[in-house]
């Protein structure tokens, strides 16, 4: 008997059972040496499989919600299932990056085409819906589309890892999954907000602007974007936000460009208010200040603001309200709603410190204005 294993208690060296046990242990040790990595991969695959099933449930929930809402709102004889399934497979191809010159304008064009196409699809599904409902439906379908894409990408790498038996594909997937699942859960929660037209965390910038412009005359300055001239602390503020209460982000970059050009650059400062990703450990609803253009998304609107403010050397200030990805796309939580008043106080302090009486400023509330009027 091998000396190492003979130390192990087996009930006597001559017993058959003892031999069986010895052999079983040796086989297990050898198997661990040879198939260790495979066992590890197998266990990771099980974890990925479990998350993938969860993603599939979320994706199916999104699809079902979309179909039932369209049936409810559309009130048509036609079954929307096929149309919804087609929508969920929609792909937008980005512009060529080999020649970066003019990429922003090409990207803007593609985004406009995509937006128009989405709106047309929604109108075809729910022809009797008003503009607010159409915008909310579009947002809801986009959330369902995001869930479908996440599910399909994760499934792709899962199947690929399984087919190629590559530990490294599976390992990367397994390591990233907690973050991906958080994002998917956020989109899943967003379905409720978009279906019912409830304000979401991302809309806190729009809420701040809505509070400032309430009771003042508004006019359209860009597509889906409103502006009101408001007197704050003796300064003239051009306050702008996306047109609510439907799900909409508007064109804040274009609007700021218009205002700067109309006033021939006689703007002393621009203040951009937006929701910002909080770091773990920070409290949701914390207000932070900074400089720069606080506009998320693909970058077209941010670029336009940077261009127009650079032309007249206008300083751009940012007021940020901290929240995590889950809060950004789900129904606005109390702390974030209350942070809007704290942000207004920051804006007033900024105006007093950085501008003089009689100056003109731009205040832009960024974000999806779903569930927020003006």
């Amino acid at each position: 008997m091998i000396p190492m294993v003979s130390q192990f208690p087996t009930g006597g060296e001559d017993s058959i059972i003892a031999w069986i046990l010895q052999i079983a242990w040796i086989v297990m040790i050898v198997a661990t040496f040879i198939y260790g990595q495979r066992i590890q991969m197998y266990m990771m695959l099980r974890e990925v499989e479990s998350s993938l099933s969860r993603l599939k449930l979320m994706r199916n929930k999104g699809r079902k919600t979309a179909i039932s809402t369209i049936k409810e709102l559309g009130k048509t004889e036609e079954d929307p299932t096929e149309r919804v399934d087609r929508f969920l497979e929609y792909i937008a191809i980005g512009p060529v990056e080999l020649d970066p010159s003019g990429i922003i304008w090409r990207l803007e064009h593609l985004l406009n085409v995509r937006d128009a196409r989405f709106k047309d699809e929604v109108k075809a599904m729910v022809p009797k819906a008003d503009e607010t409902q159409t915008n909310n439906m579009e947002n809801m379908l986009e959330a369902a589309l995001a869930l479908n894409i996440i599910y399909k990408v994760i499934r792709h790498f899962y199947v690929l890892g399984k087919k190629t038996k590559s530990l490294y594909i599976i390992m990367q997937l397994q390591m990233l999954l907690p973050l991906i699942m958080r994002e998917a859960e956020a989109f899943s929660n967003a379905l409720q907000a978009f279906t019912k037209g409830q304000p979401i965390g991302d809309g806190v910038g729009a809420l701040v602007a809505a509070k400032l412009m309430r009771g003042h005359r508004k006019k359209n300055v860009a597509k889906d974007t409103l502006m009101a001239k408001v007197s704050i602390e003796g300064r003239t503020a051009y306050v702008l936000k996306a047109t609510g209460p439907g799900g909409n982000v508007g064109k804040p970059g274009e609007a700021i460009k218009q205002i700067v050009n109309e006033t021939k650059g006689k703007i002393v400062a621009a203040i951009v208010i937006d929701a910002a990703q909080k770091l773990e450990g920070e409290k949701p609803g914390e207000v932070a200040e900074g400089i720069g253009v606080a506009i998320g998304g693909p970058g077209v609107e941010k670029y336009k603001v940077e261009e127009s403010t650079l032309k007249y050397k206008i300083p751009v200030n940012a007021v940020l309200i901290k929240e995590d990805i889950g809060d950004a796309v789900s129904v606005m939580r109390k702390e974030i709603f209350e942070a809007a008043d704290a942000a207004i106080e920051r804006i007033k302090r900024l105006l007093l410190e950085r501008t003089k009486k009689g100056d003109s400023v731009i205040i832009a509330g960024i974000g999806n204005t779903i569930g927020i009027g003006q």
């Binding site: 009930g11 699809r63 929660n189 129904v331 939580r333």
Partner: protein
């Protein structure tokens, strides 16, 4: 949306073999423990009981892993409150969100002063455990 998802098989052959090996080892170990206790070799018996329990633990873990897939989606509808405020007398009414509500929407007259009221806020109270 035809597709190939994660394997629908409840238990794979690889897992089945591991479970069988663990079960066999545990049974042998428990049998040996009984023999050892019978011949009053208590420390040896304790060793076999330990090995037996290790096998059972491995078995249970494997079985739990296979059952893990039958969970339900634990996402619940969030409770959303709408606050309606009378701007004249300050009367406040908090109720559940209703379809069509939006912030700054004008609503019914105030029960105190009959002035038009307005939706001042719509938010959810975060219930998630340990969430900052």
């Amino acid at each position: 949306m035809g597709e190939v998802g994660p394997s629908e098989r409840r238990i794979s052959s690889f897992l089945f073999i591991i479970i069988l090996v663990a079960l066999g080892l545990s049974l042998v170990a428990f049998y040996q423990a009984v023999i050892a206790y019978g011949s009053e070799e208590f420390s040896l018996g304790a060793w076999f009981v330990l090995i037996g329990f290790m096998g059972v633990a491995l078995l249970t873990y494997m079985l739990l892993q296979t059952r893990k897939r039958t969970f339900k989606l634990p996402i619940q509808a969030q409770r959303v409150a709408t606050t309606i405020l009378c701007q004249k007398c300050g009367f406040k009414n908090i109720r559940d969100f209703e379809q069509g509500d939006y912030v700054f929407k004008e609503t019914e007259g105030c029960p105190k002063c009959n002035e038009k009221m307005m939706i001042a806020s719509i938010y959810r109270e975060a219930e998630e455990k340990g969430k900052d």
